[in-house]
């Protein structure tokens, strides 16, 4: 119903826009096929992906406003054959005066400095897509939001208001297994009921804001978010179900050029509002997170980056006292190291890339490998692998250790 409403708004607006208006179309047709490599995976299917997707992109701009729509139709046979569609983006963009830009509707929101590490970017992610080889654009899940950017003497102040909470899309067990603390192990099809979402009311809307400013080669930003953890990391003992605890994030970042490369630093305080004192065993404690990253072109057509993320848990002693003796649980300091390497070959027609997440404290890793070849301007071929490993079943990447998969993808763009 909401989708239809957005559609209606767009098309009504379309029909009343000003002269000199123009309409542009584009999109792609894509086939993605992938399978797991571990037979012991307790999922419902051996396929991680078996889908054909048609994306239609429509853009319309007049002198005063701009409309954009991106609509996916797909046939997905990985679990059971089904046709479906999703409005990925559908928004109107216009100006209020000369200093305010407004974007209203279904949209992708991103900010922060990390490369696949998110501290102040508390916008919805889609890990179901990310882990099975869908295009990078699918890592971000759309949110129905109103975004305003005010360009003032101090800098750019952006506010994104998402009236209805939009959670991350996490593996459900059907094609990607995951760790379930209630079951005490990695589970597949027997996944429990859906987590409880915050009630749809004004008080539960999400507010994300950023104040950013450029200083020469550097851009600095302050962030504030008020909403909920995007993953169902809380447990409601009364309802016997997982839920999304309340979260505030306060953070800052700086990014810019240093010695021919790009340097970024970001920090944030995750204030777990449902567990102020860190004594509720069912809700995560507040954490302080820091990220350091550097990227540089190290040879012709070869770029590499390194990131180091640290997460400090508050009230760790209380947390520790609540853990079962002998069970595996996180350290007070969580470390995550990542590296991306991208090599362009054959006049940028062939891209080889690798990305690794490795946590020395959780003793787990996630490796993403991809080769992409632009056969023509329209046809792009890609193959890739997602490899997970971990010492324990309960850690962030360790829980996906049975989900190793290979995939192949063909895209026809128009």
């Amino acid at each position: 119903m909401r989708r239809l409403l957005v559609f209606a708004v767009i098309f009504t607006a379309l029909s009343v826009t000003t002269a000199r208006a123009e309409l542009y179309f584009g999109g792609f047709l894509q086939g993605l096929y992938g399978g797991r490599t571990d037979d012991t995976n307790p999922t419902a299917t051996e396929y991680t992906a078996s889908e054909t997707r048609l994306q239609l992109r429509m853009e319309h701009f007049g002198d005063n406003a701009e409309f954009f729509g991106r609509l996916d139709f797909f046939y997905d046979a990985a679990v059971a054959p089904q046709y479906d569609w999703e409005l990925r983006e559908g928004y109107a963009k216009f100006r209020l005066g000369s200093k305010i830009d407004v974007k209203v509707g279904r949209q992708i929101l991103t900010w922060g400095t990390g490369d696949l590490i998110f501290i102040n970017d508390v916008f919805a992610k889609d890990y179901r897509s990310f882990f099975i080889g869908r295009d990078d654009q699918y890592l971000k899940a759309p949110q129905d939001a109103v975004r305003m950017a005010w360009y003032n003497p101090i800098g750019e102040l952006s506010i994104a208001w998402t009236p209805r909470f939009e959670p991350n899309r996490l593996p459900t067990g059907q094609r990607l297994s995951f760790y379930n603390p209630m079951a005490g192990g990695i589970i597949g099809t027997q996944a429990q009921g859906m987590p409880l979402e915050p009630e749809a009311k004004f008080d539960n809307s999400e507010i994300a804001s950023r104040l950013s400013r450029r200083f020469g080669f550097y851009t600095a930003a302050l962030y504030f978010y008020r909403g909920f953890y995007k993953n169902p990391v809380g447990f409601d003992p009364n309802a016997q179900a997982a839920y999304y605890p309340e979260l505030n994030v306060y953070g800052a970042s700086i990014r810019g050029m240093l010695m021919g490369g790009i340097l970024w630093l970001e920090g944030g305080y995750m204030h777990s509002r449902d567990d102020e004192d860190g004594d509720n065993p069912y809700v995560p404690n507040s954490t302080i997170e820091g990220l350091f990253g550097y990227e540089k072109q190290i040879a012709s057509n070869l770029t590499a980056n390194l990131q180091w993320q640290v997460e400090y848990m508050q009230d760790y002693e209380t947390f520790e006292s609540q853990q079962m003796p002998g069970s595996q649980y996180r350290d007070e300091l969580y470390h995550l190291l990542t590296s991306r390497i991208t090599k362009l070959m054959m006049r940028e027609l062939l891209t080889l890339s690798g990305f690794i997440f490795y946590s020395p404290s959780d003793e787990d890793l996630y490796l993403r490998l991809m080769a992409e070849y632009k056969y023509t301007d329209e046809v792009i071929l890609a193959v890739g692998a997602n490899i997970f490993d971990g010492e324990y079943e309960s850690t962030e990447f360790g829980q996906f250790q049975k989900n190793d998969n290979l995939y192949a993808k063909i895209t026809y763009g128009f």
């Binding site: 853009e59 992708i108 810019g256 632009k374």
Partner: protein, 266 residues
């Protein structure tokens, strides 16, 4: 008395004119003027660019984009804005460069499908521009002070009188060891550039295939770059060229990177 004054004036002017002429022939000065004519035409500019990348087997790829340029001062800082139209996988992406001659360039890219603004490390100016035979430096220009120049001869090229200038990088440079530039005496545009490696072998040829007068400014509307070693060639057409649009520098900021200025970009 009056005649003497007049004679002195005429004499003075003649001397200045001669001096000016000698100056103009000074190779470095010529390169500077050519650089101004080629890379700093007017105060700002817009063009619809069609880039054809042809490999040695004759297979062709096409890149289409709109390009905006604003000069802070002639020979000084420049800002570039690029909006990609095709192929489909890069359509709607924007790319911005703040170029500081003699300093570091700052580059940003915006990927609209993930709403991502990303600065790009710009260490290697010699890396290819969107996979073409042109490098980033070929697009925005190598500063003339980075090379030592020598006027080799005055000659003709395709019926046009040209200066032939030899340029050798002051510091070791991986893109070329020596370059010959054929500068049109009339328009000062570099009609042809020949690049040589350290063995003296010619590696690349840049040609201005077509020069037209746009708003009174001689403008290269078709350029090509041939890579003799790889057997590849890139042909760039500049269409719908417009100068002195009155572009403001705030257009070359993150705000417009994320929101292409539809007044200029359709």
């Amino acid at each position: 008395m009056r005649t003497i004054k007049l004679t002195l004036l005429v004499l003075g002017l003649t001397i200045i004119a001669f001096a000016y002429n000698a100056d103009a022939k000074d190779a470095s000065e010529l390169m500077k003027k050519s650089h101004m004519a080629y890379y700093y035409a007017a105060d700002d500019g817009l063009s619809e660019v069609n880039m054809r990348l042809i490999n040695k087997r004759g297979k062709e790829r096409v890149r289409e984009f709109t390009m905006l340029r604003l000069d802070e001062s002639d020979g000084g800082k420049q800002m570039y804005y690029t909006y990609f139209k095709s192929p489909s996988d890069v359509a709607r992406m924007t790319f911005m460069v703040h170029k500081t001659p003699g300093g570091n360039d700052a580059r940003w890219i915006y990927v609209p499908s993930v709403d991502l603004v990303k600065p790009i490390s710009a260490d290697d100016k010699n890396s290819s521009f969107v996979g073409s035979d042109f490098s980033y430096e070929d697009v925005s220009g190598r500063h003339w002070t980075e090379d030592n120049h020598k006027l080799l001869e005055e000659s003709t090229l395709n019926g046009k009188e040209v200066y032939v200038i030899e340029s050798v990088p002051k510091e070791d440079f991986n893109a070329f060891h020596k370059k010959l530039t054929y500068i049109d005496k009339e328009t000062l545009l570099p009609m042809k550039e020949e690049y040589f490696d350290k063995d003296g072998e010619m590696t690349q040829i840049m040609r201005l295939e077509k020069v037209e007068t746009v708003d009174g400014i001689p403008t290269a509307t078709v350029r090509s770059m041939e890579n003799l070693k790889k057997g590849s060639k890139t042909i760039v057409e500049f269409n719908s060229i417009d100068y002195n649009l009155g572009l403001k520098d705030n257009l070359f900021t993150e705000r417009y990177l994320k929101n292409p200025p539809r007044k200029y970009i359709r």
